[in-house]
Amino acid sequence: MPHFRQNRLCLREYFNMFNEEENRDTFDIQISVSDPEKVGDGMNAYMVYKVLTKTSLSIFSRDEVCVKRRFSDFLGLHSKLASKYMHMGYIVPPAPEKSIVGMTKVKVGKEDLSSVEFVEKRRSALERYLLRTVKHPALLKDPDVLQFLESSELPRAVSTQALSGAGILRMVNKAADAVNKMTIKMNESDAWFEEKQQQFENLDVQLRKLHASVESLVCHRKELSVNTASFAKSAAMLGNSEDHTALSRALSQLAEVEEKIDQLHQDQACADFYLISELLGDYVRLITAVKGVFDQRMKTWAKCQDAQVMLQRKREAEAKLQHANKPDKLQQAKDEIREWEGKVQQGERDFEQISKNIRREVGRFEKDRVKDFRVVIIKYLESLVHTQQQMIKYWEAFLPEAKAIA
């Protein structure tokens, strides 16, 4: 294990040493969302973000592209991807949530801290959304994705209602109801699917609880920051009032240290939030998407079953017509049988395909989540180390001041 002594290895160098290893096995594509700009005025105003793509992949026409996109463009992209791929069992990363309250503040032109935080939160979410989307090997090659990243003009997305996180959840619930009414059971090879589905149900519940705990941490850390600042002011006042010179000076210094520490708390709260809380929020939404594909499989199965039933009926009808001496109708019946045989085969193929896709997608999801959570905890620990480092510096500077009280 390497030596951690401060004067041997600079902190930044130490972390870089490991981050380089990390970056070696990442994708050959980097996306950043930045420079939010307000366009227009009043209730028709909107934010525009700069989307910069740097890549060495050949499917892109240039190795560096910069375009301007607004929030509804992202929603439009997601909507298209979901409609294309979800029914095939692909886990399409969900787009960030809409927020009427947040956006209204921004539109109305409030330049206060909460609007700034809102825009930053959204910017970060949009970036994570794009990164997750291009990490998916099939989605990366999708023409809509390429167009989104490269084309300077994009047709305005109209139906952005379609597939927000809440929308998917509603769909899932409706599908679940339909499934419960199904009388035909699926066969044993679905044990894997049943097990996985249960696991995701549990994971959903637990991640929401975890997310709530982390949100509480963020909140309390912010409170700590406020209270520290408040104490700093009070200590300064006390120092002014104190008539012993050296003690008065020390109290003023204490106030200064606490002010600096307040800033550290604020920075830490940001790390708590952006690293952990937002990741958990993303995963809660992602799991909703996963539940969505499982339900698509159910629907596919139902369709397959319906086709079987139909085929059976057609065969029965044909059998009846055999003894009815109506050659035209008989031919029609035979044609219909062929049609439905085809549909049954197609249904079975679709079902096999979606099952295969889901197995692969779930495998990929499980691998990615370990990686995601690992990256996050590593970054979080780094943030904590930085905070501690600063704290040590501040207190070590104060110690001689305290000792100087005579």
Binding site: L238, F373, Q388
Partner: protein, 393 residues
């Protein structure tokens, strides 16, 4: 029957013992149900004591009795009376203790730790009270103080008798400082003028600083609690998963548990060194103000006695009595002024020493905890980085 003891606590305490001839400490405190029993340990070479060493059990009410008898002693009017220790306050833990009495499940580790912290706080403040008395040339000779330290039986009966004896005899001397009276005094003495202004201003500032420090400490504790919940939630999530993710979550849970421990320790150390210091001096400043009040009252009495003497001289009646009264009032006022000056001067010195000691200790602890936390983060960081080759599915 749950016992929470501080005897094995590694926590360094503020030691006011300045003289080997009378050394007092509270090495142990026992918390049963809602009563706290302090073990008061005395070592002395003074001849007024019958034995060189004592160890007695005392309750909070005994300390209050001792404080009240001292306050009501006319002889000590010119001294700053060490503030009474506040009642031990266990809030939630107390409810838990009651529940335990009724046979409920055991206390969690965290609840136990919280109780212990509260106990440490209350021991510190009761100990300081006694050490203030023992280190003062006049209080250490107080008869009741000696009884408190020596008497090996329960003091409850004595306390009841004492209440009947005094019954508010010096009640008007005991009233808390009336700021209007103090600031209304026409001060000829430069020293007291300065002290009055200083104390009035400082008193409000330190009250405010105490309140803000309390809020800050509470926030620290909330953050520690959150780390605890996060750790629990991570473990719950890990339970339902398998392979790599599970191991990973369990490791994360460990990280947060370690963070919680350090944060908790930082919060309670800050509370003991900073918040408790400010709380104590808020009370001590009040005691100093009480002294100014008593002196102001004595001055008012003296001025009244002058007026009475003039009146008596005019009327030609009871002049000798009025002269005697005036002489006594002047004597009393002079005695309070002389004693008060000494007390207020040593008060400042004492305050400076206490702040210095506590600020240094607090800073050293902050540095120590921050270094521990930094090291742990380094270790876990390294572990997670190294895990990379191990987790590929």
């Amino acid at each position: 029957l749950l016992q929470v003891r501080t005897a094995d606590s590694p926590h360094p305490r503020f030691d006011l013992n300045n003289d080997a001839s009378l050394v007092i400490d509270i090495p142990d405190a026992l918390c049963e149900r809602d009563k706290v029993k302090f073990t008061v340990h005395t070592k002395t070479t003074l001849s007024s004591f019958q034995k060189p060493e004592y160890s007695v059990q005392r309750q909070h009410e005994d300390f209050i009795w001792l404080h009240d008898t001292i306050v009501e002693t006319e002889e000590y009017a010119g001294l700053i009376i060490p503030p009474a220790p506040p009642k031990p306050d266990f809030e939630g833990p107390r409810e838990k203790m009651h529940k335990l009495g009724e046979g409920e499940s055991s206390m969690t580790k965290e609840e136990y730790a919280k109780m212990k912290q509260e106990l440490e706080k209350t021991v510190q403040v009761h100990e300081v009270f006694l050490q203030r008395l023992s280190s003062h040339p006049m209080f250490r000779k107080d008869r009741n103080f000696q009884i408190f330290l020596e008497y090996d039986q329960d003091l409850t009966v004595r306390r009841k008798n004492a209440k009947e004896m005094f019954g508010g005899f010096f009640k008007n001397m005991v009233k808390s400082a009336d700021e209007v009276l103090i600031s209304g005094v026409k001060e000829v003495d430069e020293f007291f003028e300065q002290e009055k202004n200083f104390l009035l201003d400082y008193s409000s500032k330190i009250k405010d600083a105490t309140a803000k420090a309390e809020k800050m400490t509470r926030s620290h504790k909330n953050v520690a609690d959150d780390y605890n919940h996060i750790s629990g939630a991570l473990n719950n999530t890990a339970a339902d998963n398998n392979t790599a993710f599970k191991k990973h979550l369990e490791k994360c849970a460990e990280v947060f548990e370690k963070l919680r421990k350090v944060e908790d320790r930082m919060a309670s150390d800050q509370e003991l060194k900073l918040t408790e210091l400010l709380r104590y001096y808020t009370r001590d400043i009040q005691a100093a103000k009480d002294l100014l009040y008593r002196r102001a009252r004595a001055l008012a009495d003296y001025e009244n006695s002058n007026k009475a003497l003039d009146k008596a001289r005019l009327k030609g009646k009871d002049v000798a009595q009025a002269e005697e009264n005036q002489k006594q009032c002047l004597q009393k006022f002079d005695k309070l002024s002389e004693s008060g000056k000494k007390e207020l001067t040593s008060f400042k010195a004492r305050r400076v020493v206490a702040f210095r000691k506590n600020l240094i200790e607090m800073t050293e602890l902050e540095i120590k905890h921050a270094k521990v936390r930094r090291l742990k983060c380094y270790v876990y960081h390294y572990m997670f980085i190294r895990q990379c080759s191990g987790i590929l599915i």
